[in-house]
């Protein structure tokens, strides 16, 4: 019964059939309950829209149904033979970038939907680029609307060839590409009889075969983030800590940075027990001999393998709505549980997310919705990591009044 869980994000250009494909997956996997289908059919009748559209399954808000567009992420689990998938539906509108990023930052893999009829378009390239930037490693392509091109092999091949080049430039290789018709159900759950030239697997079988759940980073050096600190009834300090990578055992020597506080780990507390060891993603309580106070945001490691105290770093950043940055700006970044002051030392480039080229070098300003690279100077000691080494501590947000104003991926750090 315990199916491994996979979070999927569905990306692609507006109207290439993302919602329809998701609707088809939910419908063919029987994840949609009969009552919901009946409700939708009744409503379609009422509102005079005759044709049943799969996209309707996802549109729970009044406004969305009227507009026929899915405007926010929606997660509905469905089962295959191997996994329990949760799908994150992404909007295709340009202005909805932050919702796409919210979805993509929580996904294990992306399904890129490209219409065989309309071909590769702006958001096809842009979404693939953003998925890569946010660290999604696994991609499967659905070449959709095959019914609209008379199920022709050459159109599928042309789309694949052009897409392969784009994905290769981003660093995605050997990406499976499946010709489907979401609206008719060809090659989604059921093998199509209209495309005998295609000998590969259906979309669902391809996902099952090629996607693997994210691995728990057990074999890396220990990193943990301090969430909080509590005093127990004996006035002893319990350090509330979430383990990010590696494992931890009592009697090991540990250090917290950037403060440099260190000591021997006495106990690992969990509810109702003292633990023999702690592993990634666990939130535990630590009692460390010699430490009687600590701040939220500190990074835990073994004394022998500490993180660098970083003075400056470079990062790829994606600016969300209502935000711009310029050289010299003082900002607050959040990585792990730490919030630290930094300065935008120099914006290095702005990247055109559609054409995937550098659109401007050393611009003064990066505006809302743009993507670029910048150098940051830490205005206080920080322990941020390179994303390629410790993704969990190599990603950050720039804080804005409403929460996250920008997302960042650390390319390099200088001590």
């Amino acid at each position: 019964m315990s199916f491994p869980r996979i979070n999927l994000v569905v990306i692609g250009h507006k109207d290439h059939g993302k919602s329809t494909l998701i609707g088809r997956l939910l419908y063919d996997s029987k994840a949609i309950q009969k009552q919901k289908l009946d409700e939708i059919r009744a409503e379609l009748k009422e509102t005079g829209r005759k044709k049943f559209e799969f996209a309707y399954l996802l549109d729970s808000l009044e406004e969305e149904r009227k507009g026929g567009l899915t405007i926010d992420i929606m997660q509905t689990p469905f089962k295959s033979k191997k996994y329990l998938y949760t799908i994150i539906d992404c909007p295709g509108h340009k202005e909805f970038i932050k919702k796409m990023l919210t979805g993509a930052s929580q996904a294990d893999a992306a399904v890129l939907v490209v219409s065989a009829k309309e071909g590769i378009q702006d958001q096809t390239r842009q979404h693939a680029f953003l998925a890569k930037t946010l660290g999604i490693q696994q991609v499967v392509v659905a070449v959709n609307k095959m019914d609209a091109v008379a199920y022709k092999e050459n159109i599928y091949r042309n789309t694949c060839n052009r897409l392969e080049q784009i994905l290769k430039n981003l660093g995605y290789t050997n990406v499976p590409m499946i010709p489907v018709s979401a609206i008719k159900g060809d090659n989604v759950y059921k093998k199509s009889e209209k495309m005998n030239w295609y000998i590969g697997a259906t979309l669902i079988d391809t996902l099952d075969r090629s996607i693997t759940p994210s691995k728990i980073p057990m074999n890396k050096p220990l990193r943990g983030v301090v969430q909080d600190a509590y005093q127990d009834e004996n006035n002893q300090l319990i350090i509330a800590c979430k383990i990010e990578t590696g494992t931890l055992k009592p009697n090991e020597s540990v250090i917290f940075n950037p403060s440099g506080k260190k000591g021997v780990l006495k106990k690992i507390l969990a509810f109702g027990e003292n633990k023999e060891y702690a592993q990634p993603r666990e939130s535990v309580g630590l009692i460390v001999e010699g430490i009687d106070n600590i701040e939220r945001g500190e990074v835990l490691s073994h004394t022998k393998t500490p993180p660098k105290i970083v003075k400056s770093f470079s990062a790829e950043i994606i600016l969300l709505s209502d935000t711009q940055i310029q050289n010299g700006n003082e900002i607050i970044i959040r990585y792990g549980t730490a919030e630290k002051r930094c300065k935008i030392q120099k914006i290095l480039s702005e990247i055109d997310p559609v054409n995937l080229t550098v659109s401007s070098e050393y611009p003064e300003i990066l505006k809302e919705g743009s993507v670029g690279e910048a150098e940051f100077t830490a205005l206080e000691p920080i322990c941020i990591e390179k994303y390629s080494e410790f993704p969990e501590l190599g990603r950050f947000i720039i804080k804005g009044k409403k929460g996250a104003a920008a997302a960042g991926i650390v390319l390099d750090v200088q001590a």
């Binding site: 019964m1 315990s2 199916f3 491994p4 869980r5 309950q33 009969k34 009552q35 919901k36 409503e43 729970s60 808000l61 009044e62 406004e63 405007i71 926010d72 992420i73 929606m74 997660q75 509905t76 689990p77 949760t86 932050k98 919702k99 990023l101 919210t102 930052s105 929580q106 969430q227 909080d228 509590y230 319990i238 509330a240 979430k242 507390l269 969990a270 509810f271 109702g272 993603r281 666990e282 939130s283 309580g285 939220r296 969300l320 959040r334 990585y335 549980t337 990603r395 950050f396 947000i397 804080k399 804005g400 009044k401 409403k402 929460g403 996250a404 997302a407």
Partner: protein, 267 residues
């Protein structure tokens, strides 16, 4: 522990701790149902057995006697600080579903909670909603800000990146925190079984019917079922074709009542 339940639990506990660390005055809502009881349990686990913030019950006075009994029993056994949100004025004026369900839910739930939040100055509330419960709930974030009128601007929500749950510096009056957003109904029951959590007797079938989702007596109906143990409930959910909240009136009345309720601050 089943591996996937362990992963769900880890994420939930991390979120609960984040909320405790980031907000000054936190509380958790408890309806005595399975989801919020599991959430209380996660809160206990997050803080080594003792919930370090108040537990709020929105008392409409129309809930089932079994729910009140369950509340008092668990509150005593688990030893937390129970607060009641009750709109005494509205009850004095005979507020009931007969005056309209939207009106009744708004007065006895939403307004009762509003008053308590104002009085006790809570800046964050933990709620046990799940994405798979209802279409509109699927649009929620783990951190979901509300303005002073409780309004939820679902069309312009802050981005939520990776596991970086950020407290905004302005633009919210209180934060809703949703630590079991990623759980399903089945997950909750399997967790109840695994952790041997107490369950309200209304969930078990009597005379061919059971309550699958609990609310107020006048607005909640049992569904046909023979499931009288947790294992039977788990089996039933695995094969069920009807939605969990089929017995909840506010979800179905007219097209978008739940949406209206939620954007007005309903849980």
């Amino acid at each position: 522990m089943e591996n996937y339940l362990q992963e769900l639990e880890k994420k939930s506990i991390a979120l609960i701790r984040e909320a405790k660390a980031q907000f000054k005055n936190l509380a958790v809502l408890w309806s005595m149902g399975k989801d919020s009881t599991a959430t209380l349990w996660l809160c206990k686990k997050a803080f080594f057995g003792k919930i370090p913030f108040p537990v709020i019950h929105i008392d409409t006075s129309y809930q089932f006697p079994e729910m009140y009994q369950f509340r008092d029993k668990i509150a005593k056994e688990w030893g937390f600080n129970l607060l009641l949100a009750k709109n005494e004025d509205a009850l004095k004026n005979d507020m009931s579903p007969k005056k309209g369900r939207l009106e009744c839910c708004t007065k006895l739930k939403t307004e009762a909670l509003k008053n308590l939040i104002k009085e006790r100055k809570f800046d964050a509330l933990i709620l046990a909603i799940r994405r798979d419960e209802h279409g509109i709930r699927a649009k929620e974030r783990y951190y979901s800000p509300r303005d002073e009128n409780f309004r939820w601007d679902y069309k312009d929500q802050p981005a939520e990146l990776w596991d970086l749950y950020v407290k905004p510096s302005e633009d919210f009056s209180h934060m809703r925190v949703h630590p079991i957003l990623h759980w399903t109904e089945l997950d909750v029951w399997q967790y109840v079984k695994q952790e041997n959590l107490p369950v309200n007797s209304l969930y078990f079938a009597k005379n061919g019917k059971r309550y699958r989702s609990l609310g107020c007596m006048p607005c909640t109906v049992p569904v046909p079922s023979t499931a009288s143990t947790i294992d039977e409930i788990i089996q039933e959910i695995k094969t069920s074709k009807t939605p969990e909240r089929a017995g909840r009136a506010q979800d179905k009345e007219k097209a978008y009542m739940m949406q209206k309720l939620r954007s007005l601050g309903y849980m």
